[in-house]
Amino acid sequence: MREILINGTAYQLDVDGDTPLLWVLRDHVGLTGTKYGCGISQCGACTVHINDMAVRSCSITLDEVDGEITTIEGLSKSSEFHAVQKAWIEHQVAQCGYCQSGQIMAAAAFLEQNPEPTDQDIDQAMSANLCRCGTYPRIREAIKSASKQLNGIEA
């Protein structure tokens, strides 16, 4: 038995400690918003936060997890959408949408650390996340508008 904290809830899990966090979330906890795309840290579809850091959940085992996990389902801490989600909806970023949980989680963690990113910062931070549908132009726009919103709220 092992206890892990996901989206503010403590889960008691009887799972092999070598299991990647991705599959713990999807198959054991039932949180399927986090996606499997490549399994080898290449696509970012499985991005979650561990203590507010963006992590590829396919490449970290349950035993290696040290801290509180946030998934797309728990990104918004209130009844409202998170600022990044709001921006994603407003800019209608998603096509198939499969990569977008990972994109949003990556963007949220990035903006937390760099609230006023330059275009170059955005390019660098977001290039580990693949989007086969090619929504990159809208991802850029949405990050900029989320940044404005976050800064407005913080000011």
């Binding site: 092999d16 299991t19 990647p20 599959w23 999807r26 198959d27 054991h28 039932g30 949180l31 399927t32 918003g33 986090t34 996606k35 499997y36 795309g37 490549c38 399994g39 080898i40 290449q42 696509c43 579809a45 998934t71 797309i72 389902e73 918004s76 959408f81 989600q85 994603w88 909806i89 209608q92 970023v93 998603a94 096509q95 198939c96 949408g97 499969y98 990569c99 977008q100 949980s101 949003i104 955005i122 390019d123 660098q124 977001m126 290039s127 996340n129 693949l130 989007c131 086969r132 549908c133 090619g134 929504t135 990159y136 132009p137 809208r138 991802i139 850029r140």
Partner: protein, 747 residues
């Protein structure tokens, strides 16, 4: 302008253009009305007014038969029905519906007839109409070929209008007020005194009257939805992780399976070494199925771990083992016996005029590339005693149904397909192998739902890729005039590969072999495009924009070379040579958007390309910088002619996505073979474009054409040649082979 659309009651007249797509209640089968499948499962008090509109006491449900691979098809289809039905998108539910012949696709056949889409002659139209009839006959419910909008545009609006008028009839009966005095708004029939009757309260009455036979479609200036920016109905769910794809399905007692197939594809299995995979934790069963071994386990991770232990050796396939031999096959295909057909033959290739001109010969190559949508292939199947349930994302639900029926030896009526949201497809989910495998596996454990998930590595190893292709081009220049363009294209026939997998006959010309090249609307005195069939080669399939994805690169790159050789301006000369007005306008639009004739900084350059594909003329200008670290793509300008834009936001998103798709693969993707097996295993060696490489993309949709066309594929073909042409302009280096990173660095 109002159009009265008369609804044909029973017969379908071949040759009558007005009938195409304009049939109410969806469609009529030959001599008898198409069966309204929604009527099969109605509860008391519910009405299925057409196969697309169902009204229940609890709500309005619209059926959207074209699947949603991420292209926003559900929203677009719902909007077309809702426009005429007078309901808001917030008030309706969308259901992909059950596969049924009534939802056949009339538009897809148009890409398979040997007439250029610019050819509106009587004979071309009558052949297209005949093909429509044939489609309906076989009940092809297919999403592909950018046909969703084309197929739905009139059909779904008529369906909405018929439902609306029938509801008015019902209201008239209930209220005793003449129909002419009634109008509709936001899901209600409005009486002259302002009282409203909700559609939901009319369902019972409407169900008992004959649907109206004649409807008037709204004039464009009355539209509330079409042509205006829409909020996609799934956008919130796709931004919160709530949306469920096939891979997310969870059912009681469900087990997870994964497969390893013969690594030599159709070569078959020589030997299998289990290495105790069957004794690994969580493994329930190891099953041998056709050309593969499957592991069934409690969880995905356990299934993946176990399959990794299993070693499979493949037999020698029927194609050569190594990629260089594949190129050799293509190289050797340019001869009389391999000639499939000549698609265009104008002028005299051996004419006197050509003899006294400057001759230019070139060769171009396009490699295999993978589909690799981000959601790996998956399908969930439960085989029970009396029925089979299939949960999956598919572009061909009707075919799938018959295939599953065959494998499980059940009646087609007992096969139930549940359409799941797809995490991309790009043609990948036209194929049904993962579903038939899931059926075989599920048969080994009757009563237990089995979810088959491919590992990403297996998805790459077994993809039916884009065709490999080669072109040999000969051009002639006299003075400053291009007087000859002769293009021979060699490739395996995608259609033949597909039909052979389905056990269907392959008849007629596979026009995709020359798509994007033979029908380009330029006037050149001696103009020839020929298709050569190459093989044996590995299996291939439709990849976003199919034949045009390779052929536009060949055709437009070569045209660009000829224009440069004649020392002419690439934009001006393309415009001058183009006879088709709506195509020319796309070039004029990108010339203006990109400020084509304005000077650029020394390290920057522009390239232009054009391709007419899927009936959509699309022109692109790409602006790049030649930096010490490699080529940087700065800007892309796109103009496309689609007749009518249903949702400008979705249009913009699809065009940009198509450009990213076209450029990313042209830059750095190829699938190669060694020892009969695919070399690439995952995205690190087949990357596509990443965000930092993404240019600014400017999009303009033109609406001059008469016919409404889809935009999923047409932005792809011109992207690669526009980039190659820009690279030439910037560096003087002409790249004639994809991926370009074999020859030049990108930032």
């Amino acid at each position: 302008m109002k159009k009265v659309i008369k609804i044909a009651r029973r017969s379908f007249l071949i040759g009558s253009a007005s009938i195409v797509g304009g049939v109410a209640f969806g469609v009529y089968a030959y001599h008898k009305p198409g069966h309204n499948v929604l009527k099969d499962s109605l509860n008391e008090g519910e009405a299925a007014l057409t196969p697309y509109v169902k009204i229940t006491p609890d709500g309005i449900i619209l059926t959207t038969p074209h699947c949603d691979k991420g292209q926003g098809a559900y929203s677009v289809q719902a909007a077309l029905i809702a426009e005429e039905l007078d309901v808001t998108l917030e008030d309706i539910q969308v259901d992909p519906g059950v596969p049924a012949p009534v939802y056949y696709n009339t538009a897809i056949s148009q890409e398979t007839v040997p007439f250029a889409s610019t050819d509106n002659s009587l004979i071309a139209n009558s052949v297209r109409t005949t093909m429509d009839a044939a489609m309906k006959f076989t009940g092809m419910q297919i999403t592909g070929g950018s046909t969703t909008v084309a197929d739905s545009y009139t059909k779904l609006r008529v369906a909405g209008a018929v439902a609306r008028e029938t509801l008015k009839q019902a209201a008239s009966l209930q209220s005793n007020i003449a129909v002419e005095k009634l109008r509709t708004e936001k899901g209600h029939v409005i009486l002259p005194n302002g009282d409203q009757i909700s559609y939901l309260d009319l369902a019972r009455t409407a169900a008992n009257i004959d649907p109206v036979e004649e409807v008037i479609l709204k004039a464009e200036d009355q539209w509330r939805l079409i042509g205006k920016p829409m909020q996609r109905i799934d956008i919130e769910d796709k931004s919160t992780g709530k949306i469920r794809y096939g891979i997310d399905l969870k059912l009681d007692n469900m087990l997870i399976a994964t497969v390893k197939q013969s690594p030599t594809k159709n070569g078959g299995i020589k030997s299998i070494e289990l290495n105790k995979a069957d004794q690994m934790p969580g493994v329930e069963k190891v099953v041998r199925i056709n050309n593969a071994i499957a592991v069934i386990a409690q969880t995905t991770w356990q299934a993946f771990n176990a399959i990794d232990e299993i070693e499979i050796e493949g037999n020698k396939p029927d194609y050569p083992l190594h990629s260089d031999e594949h190129w050799q096959i293509l190289e050797n295909s340019f001869q009389e016996e391999k000639l499939a057909f000549i698609a265009r033959d104008e002028g005299d290739a051996n004419g006197e005029n050509l003899l006294n001109s400057n001759k230019i010969e070139r060769e171009y190559r396009a490699p295999y590339v993978a589909h690799a949508p981000l959601e790996p292939l998956n399908a969930t199947i439960k085989v029970s005693e009396k029925r089979v349930d299939v949960w999956t994302g598919t572009q061909t639900p009707q075919f799938l149904k018959s295939q599953i029926a065959k494998i499980t030896q059940m009646d087609e009526d007992n096969i139930h397909i549940h359409a799941m949201m797809m995490g991309g497809s790009f043609g990948h989910r036209l194929e049904t192998l993962v579903m038939t495998q899931a059926a075989e596996i599920a048969m080994a454990m009757p009563g237990t739902p089995i979810k088959l998930i491919y590992k990403r590595e297996e998805d790459f190893a077994q993809d039916f890729t884009r065709q490999i292709a080669m072109a040999k081009a000969t051009g002639h220049i006299k003075g400053k005039e291009i007087i000859g363009l002769d293009l021979g294209i060699a490739m395996p026939s995608v259609r033949q590969s597909q039909t052979s997998r389905l056990g269907l006959p392959d008849v007629g010309k596979d026009m995709q072999m020359v798509a994007g090249a033979w029908d380009q609307p330029y006037t050149i005195e001696n103009y020839k495009v020929a298709a050569y069939k190459a093989g044996p080669l590995p299996p291939v399939s439709s990849w976003r924009s199919v034949g045009a994805s390779s052929n536009a690169f060949f055709h437009d790159s070569f045209l660009d070379e000829l224009i440069h050789a004649a020392d002419l301006d690439p934009m001006e000369e393309r415009i001058r040579l183009m006879w088709h007005e709506n195509s020319r306008k796309t070039l004029e639009a990108v010339a203006q958007m990109s400020d084509w004739s304005s000077p650029l900084a020394k390290d920057k350059a522009r390239g232009v390309a054009f391709c007419l594909s899927f009936g959509v003329p699309c022109a692109q200008v790409i602006e790049i910088s030649n930096t010490p670290n490699g080529i940087k793509i700065d800007k892309v300008f796109v103009a496309a002619e689609v007749g009518k834009i249903i949702d400008p936001i979705n249009f913009d998103n699809l065009v940009k996505g198509g450009v990213v798709w076209g450029l990313g693969h042209a830059m750095n993707c190829e699938i190669t073979y060694s020892d009969g097996m695919v070399d690439q295993t995952n995205y690190h060696v087949h990357e596509g474009m990443r965000l930092y490489q993404c240019p600014e993309i400017f999009v303009k949709g033109l609406e001059n054409g008469e016919k409404v066309k889809g935009i999923g594929e047409p932005p792809v073909p011109p992207a690669a040649p526009a980039l190659a042409n820009a690279i030439f302009a910037a560096t003087g280096k002409r790249i004639r082979e994809m991926p370009f990173n074999k020859h030049i660095n990108f930032i």
